[in-house]
């Protein structure tokens, strides 16, 4: 439909501009169009393209682009003010046309729904989810959400894990209603839209706002979050138990977990981190005798990945940390890695709210964090009994959680140094606290 060379040229310009493009810090050396498929052959045309992007370090990522084509002169109001969504003009089989990101086009997005889920009736309206990093999601009639994957991986972990959890009876995930595949590739997943839901992050900030304004004991604050945190801990434990039975467990290898921690620490360089003591925290964890099994985990677990709804907490997005390779993300690990991720998120929320409510003593943030950490852990341990998917005794659990938390904080420090230098104080404070308790 589109001449190959002009498509390659357009994509080379277009891809690095997209929010979901993963390698913004690298230059693209080559774009290889692997596959094109015409889904609708008349205007407005819909074409699906799989392209491999080769980067300067010779690594390659596969991307999935949906291209819409309309005739010149067709006023596409949906593109107004969205220059980055335009691919440019092409001489196509149907004559001259301009191409653009088809998901911005409500007409095409609605047709795509029918293509993927012909049995679910024809939706009337569609809107795009703003502020997404790695995928593009469309909401249909406030009833369905279609997550279109932008980086292709086979199989897609989100589909794999969400499907496994749902079918084993863990229903704190949105049910996978349909998926869209082409050959080996998972292209998109359709789920019910959790109407009325709020991200855990926003709910935590609501509680913090109240706590900072009252400036007292967080347990006394009207907006106390502990009950929510405890239920979140319970749901997290149920999720891990379900992951263990759905996708299996293997013997936990605490030495390899700790080795990875040391490796990450080696790559880190910051004058305020006491490396000696950090190594000690890791080594103490390595001495734990029963570390609990390794299982498939969420991998990128924090308050932004959970959603409070009228039916309790839901867990979203099982793709793992985008910076890691697919193999790393699918590797079984300790569920305590997720636990540590959520615990870190409590501190991030408390500190983020503090940056908004200035002039509040840091003790207020700490008291909120410590209350909700404890509530989360209480809820978690009550469901995931020690000895089942957890270390057999609480002191071992404590050592491991501490090590995973420190590991996570060191990862965060690296991330903040590279991307948000103003935020380095948050992981630094956590590192300092963990080391002083060791």
């Amino acid at each position: 439909m589109i001449p190959h060379d002009s498509l390659v040229e357009a994509l080379s310009r277009f891809l690095p501009e997209q929010r979901w493009f993963g390698a913004k810090d690298q230059t693209v050396t080559e774009v290889l169009v692997e596959k094109t498929e015409v889904l609708f052959g008349e205007f407005p045309v819909l074409i699906r393209v799989e392209a491999e992007v080769v980067l300067q370090d010779n690594s390659a990522d596969r991307y999935h682009v949906l291209i819409g084509l309309r005739q010149p002169g067709d006023p596409a109001i949906f593109l107004e003010g969205k220059a980055e969504a335009v691919l440019g003009e092409f001489a196509t089989d149907l004559g001259p046309a301009y191409g653009y990101d088809a998901l911005r086009d409500p007409e095409l997005a609605l047709k795509l729904f029918e293509l993927i889920a012909p049995d679910l009736g024809q939706p009337e309206r569609v809107r795009a989810v703003a502020a997404e990093q790695t995928n593009s999601s469309m909401i249909y009639d406030d009833k369905y959400i279609l997550k279109v994957f932008r980086r292709l991986a086979d199989p897609n972990i989100d589909i794999e894990v969400t499907g496994a959890l749902w079918s084993i009876g863990f229903h704190h995930v949105a049910q996978p209603l349909a998926s869209w595949n082409s050959g080996e590739s998972d292209l998109a997943m359709l789920q019910p839209f959790l109407a009325g839901g709020t991200e855990g992050w926003a709910l935590a900030l609501t509680s913090l706002r109240d706590h900072y304004d009252t400036a007292g004991d967080p347990a006394e604050a009207g907006g106390d979050f502990a009950a929510e945190a405890e239920r979140l801990g319970e749901v997290t434990a149920e999720m891990h138990l379900a992951l263990a039975s759905a996708l299996g467990t293997s013997k936990g290898d605490v030495h390899s977990w700790v080795r990875l921690m040391h490796e990450q620490l080696d790559r880190m360089n910051h004058p305020e981190v006491d490396f000696e003591r950090a190594r000690k925290v890791f080594d103490l964890a390595a001495e734990v005798e029963t570390s609990g099994p390794a299982l498939r985990i969420h991998g990128d677990y924090h308050l932004g990945q959970v959603m409070r709804t009228d039916k309790g907490w839901y867990v979203l997005d099982f793709e793992g940390e985008p910076a890691r390779t697919i193999e790393e993300r699918r590797m079984p690990s300790s569920p305590l890695r997720d636990v540590a991720g959520m615990l870190r998120s409590f501190q991030y929320a408390a500190m983020a709210a503090m940056q908004v409510s200035q002039d509040q003593p840091i003790e207020l943030a700490e008291s909120w964090e410590s209350r909700n950490r404890q509530a989360f852990l209480d809820g978690y341990v009550a469901i995931a009994h020690p000895g089942q998917i957890l270390p057999a005794d609480l002191p071992s659990l404590d050592l491991l959680v501490k090590a995973f938390e420190l590991d996570k904080a060191i990862y965060e420090l690296g991330y903040e140094m590279a991307h948000r230098p103003a935020w380095t104080a948050i992981p630094l404070a956590a590192i300092e606290r963990i080391l002083s308790q060791a």
């Binding site: 709910l203 907006g223 009228d310």
Partner: protein
């Protein structure tokens, strides 16, 4: 007897109710206790306020050991409240003003002073021997919970005269009637007919879940109980169409809906769990306590309606919240242990909300717009307070505050003769809070409530419309859409004490213009993008969505 109203038998779906204690409203004969004639005198006020239906607390003959819920004669009026002729006059005068009246009826039990019980206890052989529930042992039905845990140790009490235990789900001076006995069933139907014949517009049926007892059950919500209620309904439909039965069943929503039957049992039921959750949502500054319970609330049959309220004559009841929520509510709203009674909190609306005008308004805005018919509690419309130092639940039953004069303008008697002292609190007392001053002050809460009722009555959608909670990222904002034919109303509430923004996905209504209902102000039309609103602290909006010009 015909009722002087239009033909709409479903009037209760759109009505605004007002709960009033005759005892505490207005004392016409200056004996220190409110009376039916006093209520007649205040009907003009209630008409002005916009009330469609009064709900009277029990005014029947009673030893008054439980605020009149211990009835000793179903067919006569408590003498200090007046007599039967006064009741007839009240009904006539109210009907002239387009106001209906329903009254409490206690079907579950009587006072132990009732002649039926006196006869029943006096002999195991007499004609009324089986009118109450007697037993030689006190262990039967031990799974039935004790409701008044503060005063009662058991649901059985020993009667020395008869030498047996009798069953009572409430106070020990309130023996339960034995509905196994067909004579009791008939007798109570006779009671129901009696007041409807006089012109009463219906009943608020007190304590309905407990009529029957069965082994191996908790003796609540039994099928036999529903059968009997259906029998009452059949009688009402046949002889008194347009009258209403409102069930008091303090149960979880999934159990309460059974009291609607298939539209062939009670016309209305109270929605008990909603109210404490409104308070909780306010304290947490997030909507989930409310939306959660609404999500668990099943659809109700065609032609029925919820009764919703902010406060009533009983404590703020916490039976239908989880233990964790109960602890939380106690901690937040009952900082003084005196404020707790049984499983609840005995406070009036204004003190519960720390006399914050904005939250009081927000609560009324939700009361008037959530699904159900709103029931106001006398005195809350002017912001009356409570007196927690009075015993039991009397603290929320003090005299209505009419004027800043002697005895709050409630009675011309000596202060010492009053059935309860009016509130003399510096903030909530009658010198600060009363109807007369509120009427003079155009910005008073009373005028505001009156205006909101008037707006509500212009929009039947609030009574009969569909209800849909809208998605909002901001958890402090509760937004919902009410829709009835082409009357579409959008309600947005800010549960936070800070201003809040919210983006609502209203694409379905693209092209319509939201008209703010209190001032008829057109807001920018709804476009393709999410609709952005900003709300002040504890602010709310009611918008009617109309086609853009």
């Amino acid at each position: 007897m015909t009722q002087p109203f239009g033909e709409d038998p479903r009037w209760f779906q759109r009505a605004v109710f007002y709960e009033v204690a005759v005892r505490g409203f207005y004392d016409r004969n200056n004996d220190g206790t409110g009376d039916l004639k006093g209520l007649v005198e205040k009907l003009d006020y209630l008409e002005w306020l916009g009330v469609d239906c009064l709900w009277l607390l029990p005014f029947y003959q009673s030893p008054l050991r439980d605020g009149g819920y211990d009835i000793s004669d179903f067919f006569s009026v408590q003498p200090e409240h007046g007599n039967l002729a006064d009741a007839v006059e009240l009904l006539d005068e109210a009907h002239k003003r387009g106001i209906r009246i329903i009254a409490d009826m206690v079907v579950n039990h009587t006072s132990d002073a009732h002649p039926w019980f006196q006869e029943s206890r006096s002999s195991r052989e007499g004609p009324k021997a089986d009118w109450y529930v007697w037993s030689d042992e006190d262990q039967r039905w031990s799974d039935a919970r004790i409701i008044f845990v503060d005063t009662e140790k058991s649901n059985w009490t020993w009667d020395q005269t008869r030498g047996q235990y009798y069953w009572h789900r409430f106070f020990s001076h309130q023996p339960d009637l034995n509905y196994e006995n067909p004579e009791v069933q008939e007798a109570m139907l006779g009671v129901v007919r009696f007041w409807l014949d006089i012109g009463l517009d219906g009943y608020r049926l007190d304590a309905v879940p407990y009529l029957y007892e069965r082994d191996g059950t908790i003796c609540e919500n039994l099928p036999e109980t529903h059968e009997y209620l259906k029998r009452i309904r059949k009688e009402v439909d046949a002889l008194y169409p347009g009258r209403v039965l409102l069930a008091e069943a303090n149960q979880w929503p999934s159990d309460v809906v059974d009291y609607f039957g298939d539209g062939d049992e009670c016309h209305m039921c109270f929605n008990f769990p909603l109210m404490p959750r409104m308070f909780m949502a306010l304290r947490r500054e997030q909507r989930y306590p409310i939306t959660e319970i609404l999500a668990q609330t099943p659809e109700i049959p065609e032609g029925t309606q919820w009764g919703i309220f902010l406060r009533n004559h009983d404590e703020l009841t916490l039976e239908m919240v989880t233990d964790e929520e109960r602890d939380y509510m106690y901690a937040e709203y009952a900082k003084d242990p005196l404020m707790k009674v049984n499983i609840g909190i005995r406070r009036r609306l204004a003190p519960l909300l720390e006399n914050n005008r904005r939250t009081i308004e927000l609560f009324h805005a939700m009361l008037f717009s959530l699904p159900g018919s709103p029931i106001l509690y006398y005195g809350d419309e002017i912001g009356m307070g409570d007196n927690i130092f009075l015993g039991d639940r009397d603290g929320v039953r003090t005299p209505m505050q009419w004027t800043p004069d002697r005895n709050a303008g409630f009675s011309g008697t000596d202060f010492a003769r009053l059935f309860l002292p009016p509130s003399m609190d510096p903030v909530y007392g009658y010198q600060a809070v009363n109807v007369e001053s509120s009427l003079r002050d155009p910005s008073s809460l009373l005028h505001w409530v009156q205006r909101m009722i008037a707006i509500r009555k212009q929009h039947p959608v609030f009574g009969v419309g569909t209800f849909e909670v809208l998605s909002a990222e901001n958890p402090s904002v509760l937004a919902y859409m009410r829709q009835f034919e082409d009357d579409i109303v959008l309600c947005v509430n800010n549960l936070s004490r800070f201003p809040q923004p919210v983006e609502l996905s209203l694409a379905k209504f693209q092209g319509k213009t939201p008209i703010e209902l209190t001032g008829k102000i057109p807001f920018p039309p709804i476009g393709e993008l999410p609709y952005l609103l900003t709300l002040g602290e504890h602010g709310f909006y009611w918008f009617q969505l109309v086609d853009s010009q």
